[in-house]
């Protein structure tokens, strides 16, 4: 009979309407500014720079290697390298970014800068309420606005941050172990050389790498 299809459809609509009062599955709307659904761990928005300890500028992990600037598909990162060097988390003197800008009106949140960064210095933020009064200047984030603490990173990506910290600690430990091993080897070599020099005093050393160079 004509019309039964329509009536069946109406029944579905009625079921949905009445069901929306009882079934939680059918209530999907979140009243946004007052209510917020939690963001998933992997959620990403725009990149930011991580600093260690308490100094937002001196503690930056970024060494201005410019890999992210080169790999960024929409070319939204602009970096100027510093002239002098400062010690990084391993105590090695490194360059730091004099200027580090990200134009978030160009950025497409693809996470490629995070993937290519060898220093775990740039990570994805979860901040999404970023409306600004100005179209140009205010959407260009400077180094000061971009640098956020490692604690903040732990807050927004707890699982990932734990892993990164572990990797960094492992790297430091490995570097220290290597240094210690090298120092021990150098000391041994120096001792052996001293012994050799003591036995054959008349012979001058034959040139070759000095122990102090080998240890560095």
């Amino acid at each position: 009979m004509i019309g039964t299809g329509i009536l069946k459809g109406m029944a579905v609509t009625a079921r949905n309407f009445v069901g929306s009062y009882f079934e939680k599955d059918r209530l999907t709307t979140v009243q946004y500014p007052e209510e917020r659904s939690p963001l998933p761990e992997n959620y990403r928005n725009f990149p930011f720079l991580i600093f260690d300890d308490n100094d937002p500028q001196a503690g930056l992990r970024c060494v201005a290697c410019k890999i992210c600037e080169k790999e960024c598909p929409p070319q939204c990162i602009y970096i100027v390298k510093s002239d002098d060097k400062k010690p990084d988390y391993m105590g090695k003197p490194q360059f730091y970014p004099k200027i580090f800008d990200i134009d978030i009106s160009v950025c497409m949140s693809c996470q490629i800068c995070v993937e290519v960064c060898p220093f775990e210095a740039i990570k994805m933020d979860k901040e999404f309420e970023l409306s600004q009064r100005e179209r140009f200047d205010h959407l260009l984030l400077r180094k000061e606005q971009l640098s956020k603490s490692n604690g903040y990173y732990h807050k927004i990506h707890p699982v990932e941050a734990e892993m990164v910290d572990k990797n960094l600690a492992d790297a430091v430990a490995a570097a220290e172990a290597k240094k210690k091993a090298a120092a021990e080897a150098a000391a041994k070599a120096a001792a052996a050389k001293a012994a050799a020099a003591a036995t054959a005093e008349a012979k001058p050393p034959a040139g070759g790498p000095s122990p102090s160079l080998a240890s560095s």
């Binding site: 459809g9 998933p40 598909p73």
Partner: protein, 394 residues
């Protein structure tokens, strides 16, 4: 090779259907009225314009005009690294970024001869089928919306789509611009909790399908508006290069998941629904039936997936240079055959980067489908082709 044989065999057995009548017997002879529909028309699915010549309400000529959303995708692809094009592919067909990623990753993997670990292949199948579910569900909603059923069916479809997008968000970090696949695998691993959630959503999906089919497919108005509207013959569809559900609605058995057997599709048991008449109703039904088959694939995939690596460690993230050569990788996207053709000259950028977009090629037959129908039918036919202007204009 396989594909060509399968296709010609299928064509021979199908009788050629009649084209829609050019005249519907209008009594008055008058001048044709030219109307420019779009580009801001809400039913054109984006910035798409049609110049139609009307005789009363009957369409006599139709000229599609597109390119409003052109963003130089292919040229950008030639000037950026191989990895740099991956996030741009999300923006082609922004409903199905996972399948776009897969098609591009597949062609680069072909070009460089990269193996993909087992778990990554399963994840790709799961995500591609979830993409198909949400694309077809929202397409049905939009089509109903084009027919005048404002709101209700679209919102039901979007409710289901939102659950799948939440899954995408918790896995890849973004609802629509997933940027999830990488050459030789995937970017993030799915934990057991995610897989359990996905399984739950997939298990509940047939309930939505039953409800949706009850809501629309028996509806007399839908039947009157779609049956015998926009008929497409199998012969014309094959010679115009139509792919995807639109081709299968004409009865041509051609699905790249079966023909190429890319990924792990040969490991799954699923059927390819085929239409008979090639009209709008068949195209609509095709989506509904394909969703059921996608649910079948997903139900088989969840028990099979085993822990393991998700990315091939040999692939370099920085300074990735495939050897000199060319490759064409294609997949069965929700809209049809999505292919990427790449030529490498050994540098970090592709020498040529070409996209074969399904919705663009399916759209080329719009005039043939619409002639002799009313203006109101044009919107229904356009909706049943399933276009996304991001992919048509690139």
């Amino acid at each position: 090779m396989n594909g060509a044989n399968g296709m010609s065999a299928a064509v021979e057995t199908i009788e050629v259907m009649e084209r829609p009548p050019l005249s519907m017997g209008s009594r008055l002879e008058g001048e044709l009225l030219e109307v420019s529909m779009g580009p801001q028309h809400p039913s054109t699915h984006g910035v798409f314009r049609m110049n139609v010549a009307l005789d009363g309400e009957i369409v006599r000529k139709l000229k599609p005009v597109f390119g409003y959303l052109h963003r130089n995708h292919e040229k950008i692809g030639e000037n950026t690294s191989y990895l740099g094009s991956m996030p741009y592919t999300d923006r082609l067909d922004y409903f199905c970024s996972m399948t776009n990623n897969w098609a591009y990753a597949l062609s680069v993997e072909k070009l460089a001869g990269i193996e993909v670990p087992e778990r990554a292949e399963y994840l790709r199948v799961i995500l591609a089928e979830l993409t198909r579910l949400q694309n077809h569900a929202s397409l049905l909603g939009f089509l109903l919306s084009d027919m005048g059923a404002w709101g209700t069916p679209l919102m039901y479809a979007f409710r289901e789509r939102e659950k799948i997008l939440d899954l995408f968000e918790s896995l890849s970090g973004s609802r629509m611009m997933c940027d999830y696949m990488r050459f030789g695998g995937c970017r993030v691993d799915a934990d057991d909790e995610w897989l359990a959630r996905a399984k739950q959503i997939v298990d509940r999906f047939p309930k939505f399908l039953d409800e949706f089919e009850e809501l629309i497919l028996g509806n007399e108005i839908v039947i009157a508006r779609t049956q015998n509207v926009g008929k497409l013959s199998a012969e014309l569809a094959v010679s115009a290069g139509i792919t995807g559900p639109m081709l299968r609605a004409c009865g041509v058995n051609y699905d790249i998941r079966k023909v190429d057997g890319y990924g792990f599709y040969p490991r799954f048991k699923f059927r390819i629904p085929l239409g008979e008449h090639g009209d709008t109703y068949d195209r609509l039904m095709m989506r509904a039936l394909e969703m059921r088959e996608s649910v079948e694939i997903l139900k088989q995939a969840f028990p099979q997936i085993a822990p393991g690596p998700i990315v091939n460690p040999k692939v370099k993230v920085r300074a990735f240079r495939p050897p000199v050569g060319e490759a064409y990788g294609r997949i069965e996207g929700p809209k049809g055959e999505l292919g990427f053709y790449l030529i490498s000259d050994g540098s970090p950028n592709p020498y040529r980067y070409r996209v074969r977009p399904p919705s663009f090629i399916n759209l080329t037959l719009l005039e043939d489908l619409c002639l002799g129908h009313t203006v109101a039918d044009v919107m229904v036919i356009l909706g049943s082709i399933d276009i996304v202007m991001g992919e048509v204009d690139r």
